[in-house]
Amino acid sequence: MSINGFAQIALFFLILPLLAAPLAAWMQRLYAGDAGWLGWLLGPLERGIYHVLGPLADGEQDWRQYAVSVLAFSLFGVAAVFALQLMQAWLPLNPQGMSAVASDLALNTAVSFVTNTNWQNYAGESTLSPLVQMLGLGVQNFLSAATGLAVMLALIRGFSRERSTGLGNFWVDLTRSTLYLLLPLALLLALLLVAQGVVQTFAAYPTTSDGQSIALGPVASQLAIKHLGTNGGGFFNANAAHPFENPTPLTDFLLVLAQTLIPAAAALLFGRLVGDRRQGRMLLAAMLLVLAAAAVATYCAEAAGNPRITTLAGVDSQPREAMPGGNLEGKELRFGIARSALFATATTATSTGAVDSQHDAYTPLGGLVPMVLMQFSETILGGVGSGLYGMLVFVVLAVFVAGLMVGRTPEYLGKKIEPFEMKMTAIVVLLMPALVLLPTALAAVLPTALTALGNPAAHGFSELLYAFTSMANNNGSAFGGLSGNTPFYNLLGAAVMLLGRFGTLLPVLALAGHLAAKPRLALGAGTLPTHTPLFAGFLIGVVIVVGALTFFPALALGPLVEQLQLWQATP
């Protein structure tokens, strides 16, 4: 541990709110229909899209129409990405002559990108052509994020409107998010990344004098939205650890910032749209507090190193001027321990899932933290849009218990939390553990599934648990060590990712629809205040307790026992 390490982590937490605040103001403006000079520039395109969509883009949708639109659009996305991969060999812009992708892998990949998971059972540079990367995956990087934002907007409208059936129009929300938020930010970030040395080319892979083929491609354009949209699917197999995908500490910092930016702004946007900015600040504060604690915990665990090595005679694992000390296994030297710990926690707290180091090689405790962050149902910032709506479900849960304790039937922002709201909340809370634990249990006793493990015993179990945690929560980061490209993992994984995304999204839309129809009750001294540090603390408590109570036994058999064994067996 060093001052320098803590300072690098602190810097991120200082800058993020400063960027999120103006972005939230911009989002409020653009969703109100005023996109400023961007509207002047892209307005004709926006109107053109509505013209093509025809009556679809007209008027308000109730929650069922909104949900049908989301489902239809996503299904079309899966079909398109699936078809592109199967036809890859016959399509242009394929300088390396990649062949068609196997159908189970193609399905897994298509579902993975449409659900904003970006779990990768393939290696980008040796499987997919630039055309498929851009037209298939790149497009979904934008659209899956915009879909998340649309559903989030629908839920916010559920809180801000009263006695209304309409939740807005999915197609309008989708178009505005893409044109005025994601595209400009992605363009800006891509240019910054190129300036730092990220490659951007359609050329064939060059070969070095000793015969090594160097993979290249349109990386920067893919990379920007991969982080801004909390997607995380790397152009290269090594993801953000690859020097062409994340060449400098500055690009690393920008990428962490990019993947947390929109989720952080979304929390503030929520406050603005429901007419009480303190609500948004409370949510953001709660999220950042957990993330900061997680980043520091991972950093400390990694800086402490592996006791079986650090206690060996002649080994100096203290940070010195010329070396960072601690556990550097699986980490890039240009990033070091602190940056890697921050990246690992930010990528799992948000549902990005990109990696700049191999989580598999972390100390057991250092690897436990990213896993737990995902097990908090991706509510700590979470995915673009999906993070906020996931967190709001937990807010409803927290309000329900805390509201009773102040002697009123629970309400949030003047909306009564009644049996229907509780039913939807219960589905969301129940679904995620089921999607993680049941497939993990199946894989733990299935010999064919176990052959994919890279390690035995507790560490192997961590690999399994991490994989399904990542897929069920639509994170997509890989612990590593698990060879997932088998029909079992491809098909089961696709199912888990689909259910994880839409099994949450549909109850959320139903919740939004019922909330919008309710009157908004007045708030007073007798109503539970939900903007206070006390409530923020309680909310954090609920998120942690629900996550911990659900996964403590499984974690005990994975990283926890591994950590204990590691330290107990050390003399």
């Binding site: 805390a402 304790m405 102040v406 039937t409 589905i427 007798g526 206070t532 403590f552 005990a556 026992v561």
Partner: protein, 693 residues
């Protein structure tokens, strides 16, 4: 109904509850509570496991399985016991009500006239719309409306109050309740309810819980608890394959089914699940103890949500009667002359105000009350048309009344109200008092003259200001409803410390106010008794009808206060809040308990596979078996320990929502985390001490 106050653990109730707890073990009864149903299944499962262990196929040591099995059955029984105890307390009350519902003979009339033809029928044969004649000394055979006659009625059977009340046709005192006794005179009553639907029947059904439907909030909480139970079912069920994987990889045996079932029961929210229905029944019970009958549990919950109370000034905020405190003479009139005239005008006035004028004149000016007969005086009572009262003497007539009424009288006789008196009246009104103008006119045909005014002061009830301050701290606003003019109302409102007032209120103004407040997103509570209150009562979220009120008011409200005490509204709100707080507190406590249970069970369950997990045995429990058993025993005993809390409700003092949240989080959240660490450790020590472990 006589008020029955039970001690919590009356031996007879305890005995009956114990028997009922065993009777409730049938699956049909258990099915209604999903959390406890899963525990019931678990108990059954461990019983089977024990039987197979005895016959040779051991999943875990037979003695251990038996111990777990017994304590799981106890867990179910304890939850049943809590519910049965709460129900038993209600049943005792229902029995006492039922005793007053005896069969009586009724005299059914063919027409609503005393002389009409009649026949004797059993009260159970009466239908809505029948007319009956009830003479002195007879029981009123059913709920109804008086259509003719006036009588004093003893309603102690319903209200517990033995002082008789007057019931007469028309107006707000026309409702009678079956089972009450006519003491004097006679009444012709139009029956308004069919057999089995009377007020008494409904009360009995409510008290007994026969009609108890789960409230929306209870259902919402039950959904949450069911979801959590399912999560924990998933967690423990998947632990079997996880532990098989671990055992294959690292040696040792996979976790036994007995341990998994024990773990599941410990994690499932059994504490709140087992006490949930008892909390609801006890809330209804506390309402009945306060002599308030709620027509549904939903109404009790709504009482907790109320943010505005509409309170009638008279009787709630001020004492029912105003008192004369000062004589203010008109310019040029001696104060003694005013006092004398005022006293004369009030001698025959039996209203509290009139009596207080007589007393004030006597105390201040030594004027003794005189017999009107000796003065050949003729008393002019207050009428709605003239809005004045007074006295006609041989040589003069004296009138007293409100400013506008006297001004109108003066105008009739060609005079104006002097500006000085009008100003004086306004000053009095601004101070929250009511000015009563006194004027006289020599007979025959003399010039009318204004003598001055009597200051009538409303007496604000002692301690009411503090209660309003408490309500404000809880975020509940108060609105005073009064027929007084705005000036008077503002002054009394300031003195009593209400947040707002509605002056010169007519029933339709009340209704409009409620609609406006509800439009702003507020939940409104009010009390009412008159038929003209009915629309407002129907509109309000919590509407407490006075038992002394009309049938229409009682039908429109969702609660009836048997004591007819409008201040009760504040108590009703407190009971509603307490019910919800108890639910929240026990839910938090129940969930917080799980943390300690994990630290007891996880190291114990995997001691064979991963001894390193022993580091998580923070409580240093003796053996894996004692650790598991201690957790299971704690889980069962905590239900019993919390029964008094569930039945009595959490103790609380009025405070803002933030303060309440902080206090309850500390007590039930943090307490819920820490208590089981201590409890489980103590039970473990005891098990070791007894040599069981």
């Amino acid at each position: 109904m006589t008020r029955i106050r039970h001690t919590l653990y009356e031996p007879r109730l305890l005995r009956e509850a114990t028997l009922a707890a065993v009777r409730k073990l049938t699956p049909r009864q258990q099915w209604r509570n999903p959390v406890m149903f899963t525990v019931w299944i678990g108990s059954l499962g461990t019983t089977v496991l024990w039987l197979t262990a005895v016959t040779g196929v051991a999943d875990a040591p037979a003695d251990f399985t038996l111990a777990v099995c017994l304590w799981l059955w106890f867990t179910v029984l304890f939850a049943n016991f809590a519910e049965a105890l709460a129900e038993g307390r209600g049943k005792a009350q229902a029995d006492s009500l039922r005793r007053s519902r005896t069969q009586v003979q009724a005299l059914r009339l063919q027409a609503p006239q005393r002389e009409a033809g009649s026949e004797r029928v059993a009260s159970s044969a009466l239908r809505a719309g029948d007319h009956v004649l009830v003479e002195a000394g007879e029981l009123i055979p059913g709920d109804g409306e008086v259509v003719a006659g006036i009588a004093s009625v003893n309603e102690a059977a319903i209200t517990g109050e033995s002082a008789p009340v007057i019931r007469e046709a028309g107006g707000d005192r026309s409702a009678v309740t079956g089972g009450t006794t006519v003491l004097s005179d006679w009444l012709i009553v139009r029956i308004t309810s069919n057999p089995g639907e009377s007020f008494l029947d409904r009360m009995i059904a409510l008290v007994e819980g026969a009609q108890r439907q789960r409230t929306p909030n209870e259902i919402a909480l039950a959904i949450l608890l069911a979801a959590l139970t399912l999560v924990f079912l998933l967690v423990t069920a998947t632990l079997l394959p996880f532990s098989q994987y671990a055992a294959t990889a690292s040696g040792g045996a996979a976790v036994s089914l007995t341990v998994l079932i024990a773990l599941f029961v410990c994690l499932a929210p059994t504490t709140i699940g087992g006490l949930l229905s008892a909390i609801g029944i006890a809330g209804m019970d506390r309402m009945i103890q306060a002599n308030v009958i709620a027509t549904s549990g939903r109404a009790i919950e709504a009482a907790g949500d109320v943010d505005v109370l509409l309170l009638d000034k008279t009787g709630t905020i001020t004492l029912g009667n105003r008192q004369a405190t000062e004589f203010v003479p008109a310019p040029g009139v001696a104060v003694e002359r005013l006092a004398d005239a005022a006293q004369l005008a009030s001698l025959a006035d039996e209203t509290p105000e009139g009596r207080s004028i007589v007393v004030l004149a006597k105390e201040r000016h030594g004027l003794r009350g005189r017999a009107l007969g000796a003065l050949e005086a003729h008393f002019v009572p207050f009428s709605a048309q003239t809005r004045m009262s007074g006295v006609d003497l041989a040589q003069r007539e004296i009138r007293k009344g409100a400013v506008e009424a006297i001004a109108a009288w003066l105008q009739q006789h060609g005079r104006e109200l002097p500006a000085a008196v009008r100003e004086a009246a306004e000053t009095v009104a601004r101070q929250g008092a009511t000015p009563l103008i006194v004027a006289e006119r020599p007979l025959p045909g003399g010039r009318a003259e204004v003598l001055g005014l009597v200051r009538l002061k409303d007496i604000v009830k002692g301690g009411i200001r503090e209660r309003f301050a408490q309500l404000r701290a809880m975020g509940i606003g108060t609105v005073m409803i009064t027929g007084d003019n705005a000036l008077t109302a503002a002054a009394i409102a300031a003195e009593a410390g209400v947040d707002d007032f509605l002056a010169e209120a007519r029933p339709e103004d009340k209704l409009a106010l409620i609609r406006r407040l509800q439009g702003e997103g507020r939940l409104v509570a009010m009390t009412g008794d008159g038929t003209n209150d009915a629309p407002a009562l129907a509109q309000a979220d919590v509407a407490v009808a006075m038992n002394s009120g009309t049938q229409a008011a009682k039908e429109a409200g969702n609660m009836v206060d048997l004591d007819s005490n409008p201040t009760k509204l504040i108590e009703i709100v407190a009971i509603g809040k307490q019910l919800l707080m108890t639910r929240g507190a026990l839910t938090t406590f129940s969930l917080a308990n799980d943390i300690a249970k994990y630290f007891a069970i996880i190291p114990a369950a995997f001691a064979g596979t991963y001894p390193a997990l022993g580091a998580l045995n923070l409580m240093h429990l003796a053996t894996p078996q004692s650790a598991l058993l201690s957790a299971v025993i704690f889980n069962a005993l905590v239900i019993v320990a919390l029964i008094p809390l569930a039945l009595r409700g959490v103790a609380w003092r009025p405070a803002s929502a933030s303060q309440l949240l902080r206090k309850h989080l500390l007590l039930y959240g943090l307490g819920g985390v820490l208590v089981p660490f201590v409890g489980i450790k103590l039970i473990d020590l005891l098990l070791v001490g007894l040599g069981v472990a």
